[in-house]
């Protein structure tokens, strides 16, 4: 069974349908890239996957032992976080809170889990530094480590390379690829950086209120949907 099965999904804001007829599935080990222009319904779809908004019609089913709250979500950085006093460790640890019985404080096991992900993303050296003092790329690594604390199986990345310079962008992509290939973590990525993102992905969902394409990357590159969108950027 697939990790996520989306069937005939329609999503609406205050009664206005913004995206419809969405069907796709995500299997264990996939690297799905969701692309589309601004306002095409990408963010809305992401919120629905996370359970942050109600579904208008259709269904999202989780399988293979995955539940909705076990998605490791990596959001875009917010304004509030720019001057937020929090050590990186505190941020990463907060990822462990969702899926547990109520303990007021972090258990030893949760602290170990956080340390493991801190090591995995190579951020040990600045784990006690303040989040606001880090560079954009370092902040993204911290948020990715937090996402990993919330999941064993699947991460959902919202524009992970926005605002990063080309070198750091490449680093970010290779970190994500490593998680996908070496650690078997399924990846769903929403991205504006279409050319770069498609290089990485195994599957593509191209959204423009309705899906224009869903399938393997190789097929997407041959499909009509990719032509206008990618222009001459890819081979």
């Amino acid at each position: 069974m697939a990790l996520i099965t989306v069937k005939d999904l329609a999503l609406a804001y205050e009664g206005h349908v913004v995206a419809s007829d969405i069907s796709f599935e995500v299997n264990s080990g996939d690297y799905l890239c969701i692309v589309g222009e601004n306002g095409s319904g990408k963010t809305t779809l992401m919120k629905a996957l996370l359970g942050l908004m109600k579904i208008h019609s259709g269904s999202i089913t989780f399988g293979d032992g995955l539940t909705q709250t076990q998605i490791g979500y990596m959001p875009q950085r917010t304004d509030i976080q720019k001057d937020f006093p929090a050590s990186c460790k505190e941020v990463v640890l907060s990822g462990t809170l969702g899926n547990k019985k109520f303990h007021p404080f972090y258990t030893k096991e949760e602290k170990q889990r956080a340390q493991k992900n801190i090591a995995l993303l190579g951020i040990e050296d600045f784990q006690n530094k303040s989040f606001q003092d880090l560079s954009g790329g370092q902040q993204q690594r911290v948020l990715l480590a937090r996402a990993l604390c919330a999941t064993e199986k699947l991460i959902l990345l919202d524009e992970p390379v926005t605002g990063l310079d080309p070198l750091v962008t490449a680093e970010m992509y290779s970190v994500i690829k490593e998680l996908n290939e070496k650690h078997g973590i399924t990846v769903i990525m929403i991205s504006h950086d279409i050319a770069g993102a498609i290089d990485e992905a195994s599957h593509v969902l191209h959204l423009h209120h309705k899906p224009l394409f869903f399938g393997k990357k190789e097929d997407y590159l041959l499909a009509d949907a990719s032509k206008d969108f990618l222009g001459g950027e890819t081979k």
Binding site: I80, S94, G95, G98, N128
Partner: protein, 292 residues
């Protein structure tokens, strides 16, 4: 009144001690909640709540409908009434945050309306300006509190402290990133409502001593000052708590000795300490160089 008078006259000592205990607990609660509120860009909520609280105080003071005598003993439910009103306002403000009237506008509406309505109530009943002044800026002579109000305040403020400690990790998660928290199954809305209600309760507890206009100072200054010098959430919370309590004690004794009003004196001490913290952070950056 001098300090020696306070400590030689047993009756006076008792009154001052009661006021100190309530002030201590309220300063502590407000500084803790303040960290989350300031970081969520919700600093003004204290003003909205307390200014509307002024209206509730006016009604209770003028009409005395909440004061009654039972078996020869005097009781007052004024504090309970004020709390109910302010908690309701807090819930409304939170609901309005996502509606057409945005957060800051909604707070401004309640803030101004509260002061206007409160003043009208005092005007209409020909109450003297002394009452108005006291409810706006706090008690001018020593603050007296009935035993039942004292117990009520103690129970509530200690509950707030316990709740804050128990939910500390989740309050951090929800403050730092509400969406992420919700996505991992933490009921963000529940915690946001909880913080708003606890804030409302704290405001009402502090309002009589500090005054409706001044009480929100207890919420913002400790957090803002601590954020100047601390880099982790835990240290901000701790420094904020110590800052709030120390400033309260200093302000309280200055007010006693010089017969100033408690609210403005404590807030002035807060402002002075805040400026001191800004200077410290400037010197710190000079020494350690620009931050990365």
């Amino acid at each position: 009144m001098t300090l020696t008078e306070i400590f030689t006259d047993p009756l006076m000592t008792q009154i001052v001690l009661k006021a100190l205990v309530v002030g201590f607990l309220v300063s502590l609660c407000s500084s803790l909640l303040g960290v989350s509120l300031v970081l969520k860009r919700f600093s003004m909520i204290g003003d909205g709540l307390s200014h509307f609280g002024f209206f509730a105080v006016a009604i209770a003071t003028v009409t005395s409908i909440f004061d009654f005598t039972l078996k020869g003993k005097q009781f007052s439910l004024a504090l309970e009434f004020e709390m109910l009103v302010v908690v309701i306002v807090a819930i409304i403000l939170l609901r309005l945050k996502n509606s057409k009237t945005k957060g800051d506008a909604a707070i401004a509406i309640f803030s101004t309306a509260g002061i206007a309505l409160g003043s009208i109530v005092y005007n209409a009943t020909g109450n003297n300006t002394m009452d108005v002044c006291t409810s706006l800026f706090g008690s001018s002579n020593i603050f007296t509190i009935s035993d039942s109000d004292l117990i009520f305040s103690l129970v509530l403020s200690i509950s707030i402290l316990v709740i804050f400690v128990l939910f500390y990790t989740r309050i951090f998660a929800v403050t730092f990133d509400s969406d992420f928290a919700a996505a991992t199954g933490i009921p963000s809305n529940f915690y946001n409502t909880m913080i708003a209600i606890l804030t409302a309760v704290t405001i009402v507890l502090g309002m009589k001593m500090m005054g409706a206009i001044m009480v929100s100072g207890l919420i913002i200054f400790p957090a803002l000052s601590a954020m100047r010098v601390c880099k982790s959430f835990k240290s901000v919370v701790l420094v904020s708590a110590v800052f709030s309590v120390v400033c309260f004690f200093i302000g309280f004794f200055i007010a006693c000795t010089l017969s100033f009003q408690t609210g403005p004196t404590v807030v002035t001490v807060d402002v002075a300490a805040f400026i001191l913290f800004i200077l410290i952070s400037k010197i710190k950056t000079k020494i350690h160089g620009k931050k990365a």
